[in-house]
Each structure stands twice: as structure tokens, then as C-alpha cells.
């Protein structure tokens, strides 16, 4: 229970940092911390498999992000109106959150700790949700192939040079 609320608070703090940081590399580092804290939250909710998936996807995504930010440039700014509005929104949100936490005691969470865990999740995935899993796999495959096609350099120049 304590791990859940500590992870939640850290995840929200990291999300706020990801919103406020102007430089993209710092923002994505905060995003990574937010994902790690969410994984800790899932761990406290008896969802170990989900926590591992979250950590893996977030770490690989952040590595790719650092690569692309180096490749494409990490200069970043905000719209001129955005800085005060974002600051105001985040401040209001934090004030509301602190007020809510201080006024009401934190609710307790009841869940079935004696559930089937990862084995039950795997059983459900290959029985009730087999078709959605297949569609998801096909979607990921098409995304990877489409990404390769879209980022392929154009060959118009080569054809023009070859033509007499």
C-alpha cells in the first residue's frame, strides 16, 4: 500500500517535470522516471508481468528517443502563450491534489492477492483474447514495415540520372 502511494506521487512528479522541462532530453528522462514509477505501482497491485512490460517498453522507447533527438536535433520551445498557461495549470493541479490529499485520508485498496497472477494472465491471453493478440501482432508488424517504407529515401534523382 505504501509502495503504491509513493510510486503514484513520484509518477505524478515526474510527469510534471516532463511537462515543465523545455529541453527534450530532460523531458524524456522525466518520462522514463514516470514509466518506472508506474511499473512500481503495477508491482504493488500484483501485476508483475505488466510492470516488466512497462519497464521494457519505456526503456527501449527512451533509448530510441535519445537516438532520434541526437539525429534530428533536440531544440525545443513552446508557444509564447503556453509557458504561463502551463505553469498556471500545473500549479492549480498540484494545489488541488495537495488539498484533496490533506482533506481526505488516502483510500485503501482491496484486491485478490491470491489470484492466478502471470499464469492466469497467460491463460486468458491465449484463450479469450487470442484474436486481439493476433491482430495486435499483425498491427505491430505492419507498423514496422510501414515505417521502413516511409523512411526509405526517394530514388527519383537516380532514375533521372539514368534516363538519357
Amino acid at each position: 500500500m505504501v509502495l503504491f502511494w509513493i510510486s503514484s506521487a513520484l509518477a505524478i512528479a515526474a510527469a510534471v517535470a516532463a511537462t515543465l522541462f523545455v529541453e527534450l532530453k530532460r523531458a524524456v528522462l522525466a518520462l522514463w522516471v514516470c514509466a518506472l514509477c508506474l511499473g512500481g505501482m503495477y508491482l504493488s497491485l500484483n501485476a508483475e508481468y505488466l510492470a516488466i512490460v512497462q519497464w521494457l517498453v519505456a526503456t527501449l522507447g527512451v533509448c530510441a528517443f535519445v537516438f532520434f533527438s541526437v539525429l534530428l536535433g533536440s531544440r525545443e520551445g513552446r508557444e509564447s502563450w503556453a509557458k504561463p498557461v502551463v505553469g498556471l495549470l500545473v500549479t492549480g493541479l498540484l494545489a488541488a491534489l495537495i488539498g484533496w490529499v490533506s482533506m481526505a485520508h488516502l483510500p485503501s485498496i482491496e484486491w485478490d492477492r491470491a489470484g492466478e497472477g502471470v499464469a492466469g494472465l497467460g491463460r486468458v491471453l491465449v484463450s479469450d483474447y487470442l484474436l486481439p493478440i493476433e491482430i495486435l501482432a499483425l498491427t505491430l508488424f505492419l507498423v514496422v514495415v510501414g515505417a521502413g517504407v516511409i523512411t526509405r529515401p526517394e530514388r527519383r534523382g537516380l532514375n533521372d540520372e539514368e534516363s538519357p
Binding site: L24, G61, V86, T139, V143, I150
Partner: protein, 95 residues
Amino acid sequence: MMIVSFVIGFLGFVNVVARRSLLGVIIGVNLMMMGAACAFVLSGVVTGRALEGHVYAIFVIASGAAQMVVGYTLAVRLFYLRRDIGLRGLRSMSG
């Protein structure tokens, strides 16, 4: 308890609106996806159907990975076309 997912998703939305480059928008969409996955897990716990919540969260996380790939692809394509990944240049593509 669900307020955690709401706050994370809302901060992602603020990121999407306020950032000026495509990579910044990807960060915001990622935050929104994390908030959505968190909402599924928490609602599964609250309603006593935790397994369903976990399954839907796995779908959301995998969709988030696909969205990241598409975002990077668009960023690379945009860089090919304009030598810049700022969102302002996209306005001229609408004709």
C-alpha cells in the same frame, strides 16, 4: 485513486498542446498512453476484475509502442522534407 491516471493523462494532453516540435508531441502522447494504461489497471482493481484490466493495459502499452514507431517515422520523413521537425512548417502542407 483514479485521479493518478487522470493527472498523468492530463499532463500528457498539456504536453501535446504546448510543445512545438514533433518529438515533444510524442512525449505528450506517451504520457497520455501511460495514463490510459494506468486507468485500465486501476479500474480493474477497483471493480474486482483485475485480469481484464491487465489485458487491456497490455494492449494500450503495445499500441503506445506502435504509436512511438509511427511518430519517429513521421519525424524522420518531416526532417527529409523540411530539415526541421517543428510543427509550424506542417501548416503549409495543408495547401
